[in-house]
Structures are given as C-alpha cells and as structure tokens.
Amino acid sequence: MKKLGEIALGIVTGIGGFLEAGSIATASQAGSEFGFQLAWVMLLGTASLACLMEMTGRLAAVSHRSYADLMRERFGVRFFLLPLVALLLVSFLSLAAEVGGVAITLEMATGISLRWWAIPVALLGWALLWRGTFGLMEKGTAIFGLVALVFAVGAFKLHPHWPDVAKALLPSTPSHDRARYWYIAVSVLGASISPYLYVFYSAGAIEGGWTVDDLGVNRMTVSLGNIFGGALAICVVVVAAMVLAPGHVKVDSFEPISRMLVTPLGEAGFVLFAATLFVTCFGTTLEIALAMAYLLAEGFGWAWSQNLRPSKDARFSMTYTVAILAAAVPIVLGMNPFALTNIAMVLTAASLPVTVLPLIVLMNDRRILYRDTNGWMSNAALVIISVMAIALFVAAIPLQVTGGG
C-alpha cells in the first residue's frame, strides 16, 4: 500500500512537476511557429529525462548516496568543480526565470508590475522552505500541480487532427527557418532535461530513505510520471499549434501564451492558465533552490536535510535562502522573465555533458551499484543521451546567435 501511495505521488508530481516556466514557454514557441512538428523533440527530451532520473534514483537507492556526493568522491574535487559551477549557473538562471514566472502571473492578476512581486514571491518561497518538511513540499506542489491538466482539457476541446500529432512524434526536418527550428528544439530539450531535477530527485530518494527494495517504485514513478508529464507538455504544443500558429502569433513573452486557453475554455481559460503558471513555477522555484543547496552540501560534506531544522544545517539552509533571494534580483532590476527563460534553457542544454557523461562511469561501477549496474539497454540509452548532450553543447550557443530572438 505504501508503495502504491509512493507511485501515485510520483505520477501526480510528474503531471505538475514537468510543466514550469521553461517548458510552457518553449512548448508554446514550438507550437506557434512549427505546429505539431516539434512534438518529437518533446518526446525525446522526456524519454531522456526519464532515463537519467531512473539512473540517479537507482544510484541513490542502492548506494544510499546522492548524485553530487558520488560525483565528488568518484572523480575528485578538481573535476567536481566543473559540474558544480555549471549546475549552479544554469540553476540560478532557471530559478530567476521561475520567480519571474510566478511574478508575471501576479502581474496578470493584479495589474501591479511583476518587478514589485519578485521579492514577496521569493520571501514566501523561502518561508515555506524554512518551515516545511520535504514530504509536505513534495505533496503540496504535486496536488496543486494537478491544475496543469487544464492543458489536456484545452487540447482535447480544440479537436486537433490526432493522427497528425502522432505523426509529429517521429523526427522530421523543417520546411522553413532551419536555424529557428533547431534553436527551439535545443530550448525544448534544455527545458525538459533539467539537471536540477536529477540532483533534486536523487537527494529526495536519500531523504525518503530508499533502499534496493524501492527500485521498482523508482522505475514506475519515473516512467509513469514522465509519460504523464511529457504528454501534458505535448498538449501545450498542440494548444499553441491550434490557437497561435494560424494567426502567425510570435511568442516572445508570456502575454500571448496566457490567452491561449481562452479559445477552447472561454475566460476561465485565462484564470486557469494563470493558476497553472503560478503553481508550477512556484513549485519549481522551491525545487531549484533546494537542488542548489543539496548540490553544495553534498559536494562539500555539510550536514543537510530538508527534514532538519535550519539550526542543525546552517550552511545548507543559508544556501537556499541566498539563492532564492538573489534570484529575485534580476526580476526586480527589470529583466524580462521570458528572455531569461530562453537563455536559461539554452545554457542548460549546453551544460548537459558535464552532468550526463560522468554517469557512464558511475552507472557501471560495481563497487557502487553491485548487481544493479546498467544493463545493455540502459547503457545504450545513456550513450545516445551523451552523444546528444555533446551535440547540444556544441550547437547551443551558435543556434542562440542565429536562431534566437
């Protein structure tokens, strides 16, 4: 029963947890500019993320050690600096983008500029982290995240030609604007394969006290959660393709996206969109701030647990405090959250090799995983993801220059 509960929680987390500022923005760009055509990239990103989460979850369940912990110990402090700096940088940009996402929904609701909202949002997030436990946070974001299902309702009410959507799940090359197409593809991958997610997930497995007995739960949670999450993200592409693409609406802010659901759902669509953006961005804000604290605490061997009171893990608590408050600064200074989101997603895509390639070594080390090292299928998947990660590293910045903006 307990395991069923955990799997259910994992699925519910996947539904709301997958969508956030980055995936909503990039999926809407994809749909508005290329119709259903980029749906396959969403599928690729989701499948890759599921593989990486399964592996880091397995690593934590078998060895009782988190991803960052093993990176430091297995590769030494000199190498560790590389993923540490890369992850802190892209996580911080994403964190600022998410705080901006929450602030922009408050601007939509109240008419008061988002610049005024950034600090209150950061303070509210910080207070929840300071007072709440891991379980409370996980369940809260999961349950409120269900509002994101509104995108599935919207997609069905628009009656897309589903065989066309299915066809788009197979890779295809663009008929126009090649640079723009690949630029959006890179952003979509950066938005789906977020490294903070596997740092957070493996730390969560440690917090939950996972053992070898939880490997089944890990596999089910990751696959079902990502299937639901990925399907929902594809629904965002579908809605954008049906509503925005016919009028050639260019998505360069959250403004056009926010009206997207009005077509299928009436004025309620606007409110439901705002609620979705608010809840999912807020949940992600908490996750990223915690992931940054986990990363530093595990890497440097500090005491850490979201279940401890801050006085027992002062450096850990101060890390998420500083991170979440600092993330409000770019928004207060007037940086556009949408532009910030795009930059964060492209840099995330570029950063993937440093967090993915070490897994090839870790996942095949019998001293860490004993009998649960990667089989040939997991290794094949990991090699494919690694090749893709290297391609993203090489292509991301040039594509930002040629296809961005």
């Binding site: 060895s63 030494g76 402090v77 436990t133 279940n307 801050p310 006085s311």
Partner: protein, 120 residues
C-alpha cells in the same frame, strides 16, 4: 588494502556523533623513522581543497581571503571507521573548518524565527 585516492580522499567525514563535518580535502603523509611513508593526518578546509583544484584556483582563493586558519588537521589516529564514510573521533564544535557553520548558526540562522525545535 586501502586505496588512498579512490576510497579515502574526498570521502564524507563524520564526527563522534555521526554528524557530517565536511570531506577529506587532503591527506598529509610523513616519513617514519624507518624511512617509510605513512598517512599522518587528514585536512579539512577551503584552502587545501582549493590547492587540489589547481594553482590558479588556489591563487584565487587566497585573493578572496581564504586563510589557513579555517583548516582542520585531524591526526589519522583519530579515524574510528572507514567505510562509505570516514568516521573520526572528534567533536564538530572543536573543528576550525566548521567555524562558518557555527557562525551562521549563531549569528544568522538562530535569529530567524522557526529555525530550531522540531519539524512539523
């Protein structure tokens, strides 16, 4: 047999009460009277860590005021157990490498409401 670089260096350290107290940032080797080297101490702290990251990182760390005073040197004889973690027979409160933790706890964290007591 113990692989120093693989199994000991960078390992998680625990104190007498199994509290996390950083990682083995460096090891000190000494030549004994018989002329054979043996591990004499573990170093915990920012500057030995920075030295292992490379010379320019170490220089940068010095520039930003990282001092040797924040380094703990614990005799290897204080090792209680070596496994996934390395447990030492020391008190967290006695380590200079834990000064930042103590300072943050006393001067920042404990002044904010809700920082102590039990989690709900």
């Amino acid at each position: 047999m113990l692989h120093l670089v693989h199994e000991v260096l960078d390992a998680q350290l625990l104190d007498r009460h199994d509290q996390k107290i950083g990682r083995i940032d460096d090891l000190v080797l000494e030549l004994g009277d018989d002329g054979r080297p043996r591990v004499s101490a573990v170093l915990i702290g920012g500057s030995p860590r920075a030295r292992r990251m490379g010379s320019w990182i170490a220089a940068l760390a010095r520039l930003f005021g990282l001092r040797e005073t924040g380094v703990s040197r614990v005799p290897f004889a204080a090792v209680r157990r070596i496994g996934d973690d390395v447990a030492l027979d020391v008190e967290q409160g006695d380590l200079s490498s834990e000064r930042l933790e103590r300072w943050l706890r006393e001067h920042v964290v404990c002044r904010v409401p809700g920082s102590a007591g039990e989690r709900k």
